[in-house]
Amino acid sequence: MRHVGGARRGLDMWLLQRASAIYMAVFLLVFLICFLAAGPIDFVTWHGLFAPLAMKVGALLFVAALLVHAWIGLREIFIDYVHFLVPRLALYLAFGALYLGCLVWTVDILWSVK
């Protein structure tokens, strides 16, 4: 069977894995600072954290980076442990569909905060 994707695909994924990791690390630190600055956490302060548009966009990008990162990471695990092409590809695509659904769900979660 022909290889799926080109020879540069591995490098793209390698780079995307690092770039998403760096964005997540920076966002988590910024979020932690906002979280601590918000004072004692109850529903009102927690809800309020996600009210600004900047936080919604930043958090959505965080989840997008998380999903890409997880998908590439799982792909590496599947390549190491699932040695037959069909189940490997099926798992890879199933998680792709699941994670795409998670991304749409996240838009709904974040933008339902008024």
Partner: protein
């Protein structure tokens, strides 16, 4: 001829008998914690939904994580995240050529392993005695 010889090279992957160096232990735990977190994503999103939906559901989430099995699940997930974060920073350093010497790599391996356990242990102790998660 040469391909035949390559196929018959010694193959030894008994994980119970291999003694991994500390960097190998941190690396395999990085993979295990990453796999766990990947599978936990839908659960984490559901938790986020509940926590933002209404004050009542927020209280349900808080009650779940403040004691018993939920407390353990929360601490376990936090440890997986922190270990993955710290070991990941270490691996990112290697990509940039930082900390690649054997001595330093072993030190940062112990450091990332120990720091994640220490921080989660501390949070566990604080929430155990204080009760206010």
């Amino acid at each position: 001829m040469s391909t035949r010889m390559n196929r018959q090279r010694p193959f030894f992957l008994n994980l119970l008998a291999i003694r991994l160096p500390i960097g190998g232990v941190v690396s395999i735990m990085h993979r295990a914690s990453g796999a766990f977190l990947s599978l936990a994503i839908p659960c984490l999103l559901y938790t986020l939904t509940l926590s933002l939906r209404s004050p009542e559901d927020f209280a349900v989430v808080r009650a779940f994580f403040s004691g018993g099995l939920g407390w353990l699940i929360g601490l376990g997930t936090l440890w997986a995240l922190l270990h993955h974060f710290l070991a990941g920073l270490r691996h990112l350093g290697f990509d940039f050529g930082l900390g690649e010497s054997k001595e330093l790599a072993r030190k940062t391996a112990w450091l990332s392993l120990g720091a994640a356990i220490a921080v989660v242990g501390l949070i566990g102790l604080l929430t155990l005695t204080g009760g206010a998660a």
